[in-house]
């Protein structure tokens, strides 16, 4: 019991989780201040722990390391705390208990996953993340969000089940439960290991690998304004962390990640709902991180995850502010908001420039690590793909989001500027985007591989010139296409993606299976109940009121039979 208490007390994620449960009983007007206080306590706990392993726990003869703080876990844990604090400030005054609970409990679960030193602890937090986050999808309380939440939960739980299966198989193969390098292939034979493959798939679902990606668009875009921001940050980054921990240098990840950077660009181009555009942007951005893990550039993956959480979060917040004031995130219904929301517009442009990796921004000092890794590996095609995808990021996240929200056609809407708490949160994120972009040393000091980062200098003249050429000429292409009216207008529509398979034919198939099962059951029950009925009728004939066995018997007849039976017993006793 003492060991369990020590393990719980050592864990910053437990601090956040307990804080989340306390929220359920706390007066609503104290919720925001309490959440910020609990986040600060968790951050202090993380800081005081320092690098090391804590919370050892013996379960069924196995030692679990419930808390491990090493440089890779630390950089994710630090940015998670920054993100939680920004979310709380952005949603300051929010009184919805369910959302407030999830605002702490869901990031806590992802933080717990990042700090896990063993696979059992990881599995626990992995499932907690799935369960606590679905409340954010359900938060709007409509039938559409209920169905979306159920789909989301099914997929997340599937990921958890696969993770558990992978853990069992790996434990059988290696006898170890430690959460460290797993590797997809056997080092001696090169064959794919089954346990590793199953775990790889579990991480792949949460990372939103190609064809497994659409739960992001399906669920995140239907959440509340604040819910979507929180959701956009944690699950995919926990998965990126897990891939970086267990599968660094896995060649397959380079190509999976490259596809992830490419296909969302085209879906984002034609998408009218700007929150869905940002969801495709998540797929694209995680793709860059996955490529980095494939190359074994953990600094690239961790650094870009850190940056992405800040600048992608800033874009979600700016769009959320516009949505808060106008009630819509559709490009066809927005536009022209720069007139009355100039500060939000300016902050949005900072996020857009940062995600596009303009020099002087957080994106520039982190994305370069990944593209440089493709160069170091002399992989020309991947290098070209990453540059192409960078132009794509500029198109959908760098230009489309601010352009269609604040400029483009005049929607006629003249909303008030965003509320102060939203401006403060966005302002802090923007300061981080530019501050770390100009002076990246504090971020680089957090990088997991200090030897590698020591040799990296983002502000070399050639790197800046190359990046400026790429981005400025891409912006020029945008200007030309707009001027000659070749840039496509937004159209109100729903674009089919992989979720179509389970929402339309899958649903029909499920309906058919349900109908067939019902019919089969009815038929079998008909046969069975017919037989039972026939037997019952026979029994009734014999034992019923009119049956032979229900007749009244004379006393003499009974006495005769009793005498016969007693005689029979006497004879048998004599013979025995």
């Amino acid at each position: 019991m003492t060991a369990l208490m020590n393990a719980l007390l050592a864990n910053p994620a437990v601090v956040l989780t307990v804080g989340a449960f306390v929220l359920l009983a706390l007066p609503r007007h104290l919720a925001s201040i309490w959440m910020l206080l609990v986040t600060a306590l968790s951050a202090i706990k993380l800081y005081t722990l320092g690098i090391g392993e804590y919370g050892a726990l013996n379960v069924f003869g196995e030692t679990l390391t419930t808390v491990r703080v090493d440089p890779l876990a630390r950089i994710f844990a630090v940015v998670f705390h920054i993100a939680i604090a920004l979310n709380i400030i952005y949603a300051w005054g929010q009184r919805d208990r369910t959302q407030n609970f999830a605002t702490l409990a869901y990031p806590a679960a992802c933080l717990g996953g990042v700090l896990s030193g063993d696979l059992i602890t990881l599995f626990f937090w992995w499932e907690m993340a799935a369960i606590t986050s679905v409340f954010l999808v359900w938060a709007p309380g409509t039938r559409v969000t209920y169905l979306s939440g159920m789909r989301y939960l099914s997929i997340q739980i599937l990921s958890g089940v696969l993770l558990l299966a992978g853990i069992v198989l790996i434990f059988r193969e290696t006898g170890s439960l430690s959460f460290d390098f797993v590797g997809l292939r056997d080092e001696s034979t090169g064959a794919i290991k089954l346990g590793a493959l199953v775990m790889f798939l579990a991480f792949g679902i949460k990372s939103a690998f190609p064809l497994l990606h659409n739960w992001v668009q399906d669920s995140y875009s239907k959440s509340t304004i604040t819910g979507a921001i929180i959701l956009s940050i944690f699950t995919t980054k926990l998965a990126v962390y897990s891939l970086a921990r267990a599968f660094p240098g896995t060649n397959e990840l380079i190509y999976i990640g490259a596809v992830m950077t490419l296909f969302p660009i085209f879906f984002a181009l034609i998408e009218n709902d700007l929150r869905k555009v940002l969801c495709y942007s998540i797929n694209n951005q995680v793709g860059f991180m996955v490529v980095a893990i494939g190359f074994g550039t953990i600094n690239g993956a961790a650094g870009y995850a850190f940056g992405n959480i800040i600048f992608e979060g800033l874009l979600f917040m700016a769009l959320g502010a516009a949505m808060f004031r106008t009630g819509t995130s559709k490009a066809t219904e927005l536009g022209g908001l720069y007139r009355t929301m100039p500060i939000t517009m300016g902050l949005c442009i900072v996020g857009a420039m940062s995600i596009s990796a303009f020099p002087g921004t957080l994106g520039f000092v982190t994305k370069g690590l990944i593209i440089n890794a493709a160069g170091e590996a002399h992989n020309l095609w991947i290098w070209l793909v990453l540059l192409f995808a960078s132009a794509g990021v500029l198109e959908h996240a760098g230009i489309k989001i601010p352009f269609f929200t604040f400029f483009a056609h005049d929607s006629g809407k003249r909303p008030k500027e965003a509320p102060p708490q939203m401006l403060i949160a966005m302002g802090i994120a923007a300061v981080l985007c530019i501050g770390i972009g100009v002076y990246p040393d504090p971020l680089y000091a957090l990088m997991p591989d200090q030897a590698a980062i020591a040799d990296y200098h983002p502000y070399s003249a050639y790197h800046m010139v190359e990046q400026l050429q790429l981005l400025l000429w891409a912006v020029l292409a945008f200007a030309v296409l707009v001027l000659i009216k070749w840039y496509p207008a937004e159209v109100p529509s729903t674009n089919l993606d992989t979720d179509w398979f389970w929402r339309v034919p899958g649903r029909s198939l499920l309906g058919w299976i349900t109908g067939a099962s019902r019919a089969t059951w009815n038929a079998l029950w008909g046969i069975f109940s017919g037989r039972i009925q026939a037997i019952m009728e026979r029994i009734y004939v014999v034992h019923g009121p009119e049956g032979q066995m229900s007749r009244s018997w004379p006393i003499g007849f009974m006495a005769l039979w009793t005498a016969v039976l007693l005689a029979l017993v006497l004879v048998l006793s004599f013979l025995a």
């Binding site: 132009a391 003249r414 050639y462 010139v465 050429q469 790429l470 020029l476």
Partner: protein, 90 residues
Amino acid sequence: MSDNHSSKPGWADNPTFIRVFIGVLVVSCVLAALAGLVPAFQNPKPHFEQENWKIFFAIYGFVAFAFIVLAGQHLRKLVGRKEDYYEERE
């Protein structure tokens, strides 16, 4: 939530602003391309031959962006449906 009413064009719709914006953009693009010709601004240890092509990144950025927009919009014909497509089916 919002106040809807018409008003005079804002600064971003002003033709002078648009002209200045385009002008600054074009000058910036030319300067970035010219910088690629300066030896001091070239990668001393290029990984690929393309990095030596002075204005490779400029051309690649322009072509990639134009391709994404011009080719990508045709995807709508394949996957685009009515806005209430799923609502009708669920």
